[in-house]
């Protein structure tokens, strides 16, 4: 092993079985790594386990389409710090998903609620669009809208003042997703789409996640770990030696 490699081993703590991705230069993460890291980070930031699962799903879904899901989730976790569930979860009326105090909705909470209501009258979409927002980091809504479209077996269009993205029932995505990634808060409308183009799926490449994003997601993830005690160390391995 070269001196450089030795240093890398120590710098990255080779003893970890979790997500010890090198944070110095960023890393290309697999879908599974993104999903697991983001689930833990979301839980560490205070989401319930069930919503943290949704956060992991959303970040990985975006990453497989070349969008920076981990970065968007991290930004949202910071925005959500110190805000209660009541402030960030949607208040639902027919055709309208908004925050109780008119502030920014959590896109994970909104997305999960939209999917939960996909077969209920609140999201009928027959006569009129459903208005949503204002919602923070709205790119994180796309994975949920894709599931919504799949559940309803029809295309769905997210429209805002500067663009639109179309999600198809078979997982396709068309339109201004890259522009949506730049938006930090917006109001939007959901509309049913008529005939939709064929899915032109592209080969997936592992997403390069920046060192800063990795470092901060890891910090959130570490909040759900328990500091080691002698008791926990002692109970973790074999009761007798491995050297036989």
């Amino acid at each position: 092993m070269t001196a450089e490699q030795q240093e890398a081993v120590e710098a990255n703590d080779p003893t970890r079985s979790g997500s010890p991705v090198p944070t110095t230069n960023g890393a290309r993460l697999s879908q599974n790594e993104i999903e697991q890291l983001c689930l833990k980070a979301a839980r560490g930031a205070g989401m319930s386990w069930g919503l943290a699962e949704e956060a992991g799903f959303a970040a990985a879904w975006l990453a497989t389409r070349g969008l920076d899901g981990p970065g968007a989730l991290l930004a949202q976790l910071w925005v959500g710090q110190g805000r209660s569930w009541r402030e960030i979860c949607p208040v639902i009326a027919p055709g309208r998903f908004r925050a109780a105090d008119g502030g920014g909705l959590c896109p994970i909470a909104l997305g999960a609620a939209l999917c939960d209501h996909a077969r209920l009258p609140e999201t009928s979409l027959v006569e009129t669009a459903v208005r949503v927002g204002p919602v923070d980091h709205p790119v994180l809504l796309l994975p949920f809208l894709a599931d919504f479209a799949r559940t309803r077996r029809e295309g769905l269009r997210l429209v805002w003042s500067r663009g639109a993205v179309l999600l198809t029932a078979d997982g396709g995505m068309f339109g201004d997703a890259a522009a949506l990634e730049q938006e930090t808060r917006l109001d939007a409308a959901l509309e049913v789409e008529g005939p939709v183009p064929d899915d032109t799926s592209t080969q997936w490449e592992p997403l390069m996640v920046s060192a800063e994003t990795l470092g901060e997601l890891n910090s959130f993830a570490l909040r759900i770990t328990v500091p080691t005690s002698e008791v926990s160390r002692a109970g973790a391995g074999a009761a007798i030696g491995d050297n036989d």
Binding site: V9, T15, R16, S30, V226, G235, G237, D242
Partner: protein, 559 residues
């Protein structure tokens, strides 16, 4: 189309054991490998499809350090195990995830690696968790020598002698793997990227292929070192002794939560095995050939039970019961099947239910499946799971329906008194230091506020109480908007609605709970034998013991 709609024997369903019987820890912790186990499935495929194997690279020096490539060529694709052999001082040898060095490290490469690929892997694979691999790699793993047996074998072979059988049988393997990572870990290919390949669609096929090729490596490196030491006097390992050696595996708590975290997968494994047993039981007769096959399998099982050793008090007791059980079974089948008996397999099963211990009953499943491959082998294709498809909650389900489903599938939960200390004695957590799952004592250790959601029984009871406060006709979507903390458990209850074998029906935070029961169940599905607990949280097993080697299938591929 799903497996259920393709089922050629719907009549067998009446013979299935219910989840309330199957999904108990005591029974799961007595599981035996069967012909549906993943390594058996791999071997069936490579034999049927005529895969070939060779070793195109062997750059190992006289000290046993270097690299090698093992190539597996199937009808459509080639996979290569890239092996790095190291010189590890004894004091650094540990099976824990916290280890930093190993005797050998491996990656399963998707295709045939170029020398540039080998160089890239050489810079990363020996570091294991501290390195990075790429989507061109399917697994990352490492192995340590059994110092005692490895040294003994080299010493004897170098002198032109075969190893002492007592030594061989006491250990059973030359090297043991301590982690075999797949599914996108450390940058490797995601499961989704390979799941549509026929040869990898069944669970853990890449991991099993990796371990099987590793088994070849363990013998090759021992023979290599024997020839370095003994020169012309050295001999190769006798083929019968070689066949009796498996690859050891050593694993701890990290494996235990897997079955809880993958409910649909667990259901599909259990359902396939239970359906297999039901198909055999439902037959009207037993052919002479199948009866002979059963007798042969019983003979082998008795031999295996004699060689199976453990120094753990729990396993010692279970092994004694198993040996007695197999002996009773041998007596029982001396006159089986009785002339004119209706459904002789079912009769044998019912006899076993009353006459045998749990260990013996679960062994009986393996024996009954063994001579009935035509009837059950196709079920191996039903053991995979599209977990994404069951992720999305149905928010239109009413509170009343979810509540009723909870009472149906989690009735075992509702009577547990979680105010009793023994029912909440433990908690699962992840250690900050090692990021490894651990099990703490709630009343003696800090950290219970950071508990992992593996306390399913309590979560289910909490959900049931919360639902009771809501009108039955309200949609689950509205309930979850008010109670995001129940989203995790509501998802599981909906999964159970469709997948009845998806949940372990025991309290995983109870004082008496044994993590090794979860591990044994999973390892049996892999095909592991010689289960040998080293504590209630740590276990050694053997893989591929008694089965052929890649070199047996392609003798021309080996020097």
């Amino acid at each position: 189309m799903d497996c259920a709609s393709l089922n050629p024997m719907p009549e067998a369903a009446a013979f299935r054991r219910p989840p309330s019987e199957v999904m108990r820890l005591a029974r799961m912790g007595s599981a035996h490998p069967t012909r549906l186990s993943f390594l058996r499935n791999l071997l069936r495929r490579v034999i049927e499809e005529g895969w070939t194997f060779d070793r195109p690279v062997w750059e190992i020096d006289a000290t046993g350090v270097g690299r090698a490539v093992y190539r597996a060529t199937g009808p459509d694709r080639t996979y290569s195990l890239v092996a790095f052999a190291h010189d590890l001082p004894d004091e650094m040898r540990s099976d824990r995830v916290i280890a930093t060095a190993w005797d050998a490290t491996f990656a399963l490469f998707d295709g045939e690696p170029t020398s540039a690929d080998l160089d890239r892997l050489q810079a990363n694979v020996p570091l294991q968790e501290a390195g990075r691999v790429s989507p061109l790699e399917l697994t990352l793993s490492r192995a340590n020598r059994s110092v005692r047996l490895f040294g003994h074998v080299i010493e004897r072979l170098a002198k032109g002698l075969q190893p002492d059988m007592a030594e061989v049988e006491a250990v059973g393997y030359l090297m043991r793997t301590t982690a075999v990572y797949g599914s996108g870990k450390f940058g490797a290919a995601d499961r989704a990227a390979i799941a549509d390949r026929p040869e990898l669609s069944a669970p853990f096929q890449a991991e099993m292929l990796s371990v099987w090729l590793t088994r070849q490596f363990t013998v090759d490196i021992a023979e290599h070192l024997a020839f370095v030491r003994g020169g012309a006097a050295a001999v190769r390992l006798d083929s019968a002794i070689k066949k009796g050696l498996g690859v050891g595996n050593s694993t701890g708590l990290g494996m235990a939560p897997f079955l809880v975290r993958h409910p649909v997968l667990l259901n599909n494994w259990m359902m396939a095995r239970e359906e297999a047993l039901a198909r055999v039981r439902s037959q009207d007769g037993a052919s002479a050939e199948a009866v002979a096959g059963f007798r042969t399998a019983l003979g082998e099982a008795r031999e295996n039970a004699e060689l199976w050793q453990s120094s753990h008090p729990i396993q010692i007791e279970k092994l004694a019961a198993l040996r007695d059980d197999l002996s009773s079974l041998a007596d029982r089948i001396s006159t089986w099947p009785e002339r004119n008996s209706q459904k002789p397999w079912d009769a044998l099963w019912h006899w076993g239910e009353t006459a045998l211990s749990l260990e013996g009953q679960e062994a009986l499943i393996a024996l009954m499946l063994e001579p009935n491959g035509d009837l059950v082998d196709g079920l191996a294709d039903c053991m995979t799971a599209d977990e994404g498809a069951s992720f999305r909650l149905d928010g239109a389900m009413t509170v009343a329906t979810l509540s009723a489903s909870l009472r149906d599938h989690y009735d075992w939960v509702l009577g547990i008194d979680f105010d009793q200390p023994e029912n909440v004695a433990r908690f699962w957590y992840v250690s900050e230091e090692k990021l490894e799952p651990r099990l703490g004592n709630r009343f003696e250790e800090d950290g219970a506020s950071l508990e992992q959601p593996l306390c399913i029984a309590r979560l289910a009871q909490d959900l049931h109480s919360a639902l009771a406060a809501w009108p039955g006709d309200v949609a689950l979507a509205a309930f979850l908007l008010a109670h995001p903390e129940h989203r995790f458990m509501a998802r599981r209850v909906q999964i159970l609605h469709r997948y009845p074998y998806a949940e372990v029906q025991d309290n995983l935070i109870a004082e008496q709970m044994l993590p090794i029961d979860l591990m044994r169940c999973k390892l049996a599905f892999f095909g592991a034998s010689r289960f040998d607990p080293r504590s209630d949280k740590w276990v050694r097993i053997s893989l591929f013991q008694g089965l052929p080697y890649p070199s047996d299938m392609s003798p021309e591929g080996w020097p």
